[in-house]
């Protein structure tokens, strides 16, 4: 058997070292920015630029090697395994935050409130009461006897407003992506392009509303520092929003590759990978929506 059927050994490449330089520069900049150093932001942006340059260069090279037919089934399998490990880490990442949300809401906060052990918690902190401020914005502050200011939730955020709208938008983007997927499998290129653009548009719209939601929440006093609910809320929705951003970028790359004619009815792993990722991010949002507002 021809060895080419078993192995593909790519040429030596300089992209990994460029990536390392980019990441180092990025974090040296970030660390110094956080310490208030003047040049921190500039160096950080430079690092980001190097990183983006590396991504374009390296991934572009992989795409070129793929379309020039250098890859065989072994390489294909390695890409798929890479996707599997990537998704495994993503699932673990979000599961950890969902469990943190569950643990705080259903276990640790009630315990601090005296549940199960009848501990008199005001002694822990003057005026402490176990509240779960979820979806409660418009929190005027009140001053405790010892002079500490705390915020008290008084009003529910309207579940029918942005949260429901954003859920509908993401679900709709899942529908448009499924139509695009079908069009690809049926070999209808124009339909594929149209529905892909629609999916990206809905994703960007979602992000826009999410920014508006953060604006409301922040103005009403819900911050990353607003106790355990603020922390878990922003960590979960923030990282989810970051994933939608990445997903929209990947869909844009796929759109570009579709226009270049890189995919066929039977061979379109890149599309399948990104489509699955988009569905995954959508399911994470569904989990957020139902666990935060309904369950």
């Amino acid at each position: 058997m021809d060895n080419k059927q078993l192995y593909y050994v790519p040429n030596g490449t300089y992209w990994p070292i460029i990536g390392s330089v980019g990441v180092s520069t990025l974090f040296i900049g970030l660390a110094n920015q956080m310490h208030g150093v003047e040049w921190g932001m500039t160096v950080m942006l430079l690092g980001l630029a190097i990183l983006i340059f590396m991504l374009f260069g390296w991934l572009g090279q992989v795409v070129n090697e793929s379309v020039s037919g250098l890859y065989n089934d072994k390489v294909d399998a390695s890409f798929r395994l890479g996707m599997a490990w990537f998704i495994f880490s993503e699932v673990m990442f979000f599961v950890a935050f969902f469990i943190a949300l569950f643990y705080a809401r259903n276990l640790s906060v009630p315990w601090l409130g005296g549940e199960g052990n009848n501990f008199f918690t005001p002694e822990l902190w003057n005026g402490f009461s176990a509240t779960w401020q979820q979806i409660a914005f418009n929190t005027p502050s009140t001053t405790l006897q010892n002079g500490t200011e705390i915020s008290v939730p008084v009003k529910l955020v309207n579940t029918w407003g942005l949260p429901a709208l954003n859920t509908a938008l993401l679900l709709l983007s899942g529908v448009t992506l499924t139509i695009a997927h079908h069009a690809l499998r049926a070999g209808k290129r124009n339909n594929l392009i149209f529905w892909l653009i629609a999916t990206i548009f809905l994703g960007v719209l979602f992000l826009g509303f999410q920014v508006a939601e953060y604006g409301h929440a922040y103005a009403d006093g819900l911050k990353l520092t607003s106790g355990i609910y603020g922390s878990t809320f922003y960590m979960l929705t923030g990282f989810h929003g970051f994933h939608v951003t990445v997903g929209a970028l990947m869909l844009t790359v796929i759109l570009y590759r579709v226009q270049k004619g890189h995919f066929s009815k039977d061979n379109h792993f890149a599309f399948e990978g990104v489509a699955w990722y988009w569905h995954f991010v959508d399911v994470v949002w569904l989990g957020l929506f139902f666990f935060v507002y309904w369950l």
Binding site: I135, V175, H181, W294
Partner: protein, 69 residues
């Protein structure tokens, strides 16, 4: 009761997504078809779940979580 229904549907959605992933990783031509079908089922079930919850809340059968003061 309603929570069990919602949780069950979420579980089934997770399973369809998982079936999709397994077929994505396997990568044969039949897997590609199964991947598409499972993702299609995934989005249909998600839309159904969303509509059930929205409709039930509209009818007043369920209420969103309250502030626990």
């Amino acid at each position: 009761m309603f929570k069990i229904l919602i949780l069950t549907l979420i579980l089934i959605i997770l399973i369809t997504l998982g079936v999709g992933l397994i077929n994505l990783v396997k990568g044969k031509s039949q897997n590609s078809i199964t991947l598409f079908k499972s993702l299609k089922l995934r989005i249909i079930l998600s839309a159904v779940l969303f509509l059930i919850v929205i409709f039930s809340a509209y009818m007043g059968w369920i209420e969103p979580n309250k502030v626990n003061l």
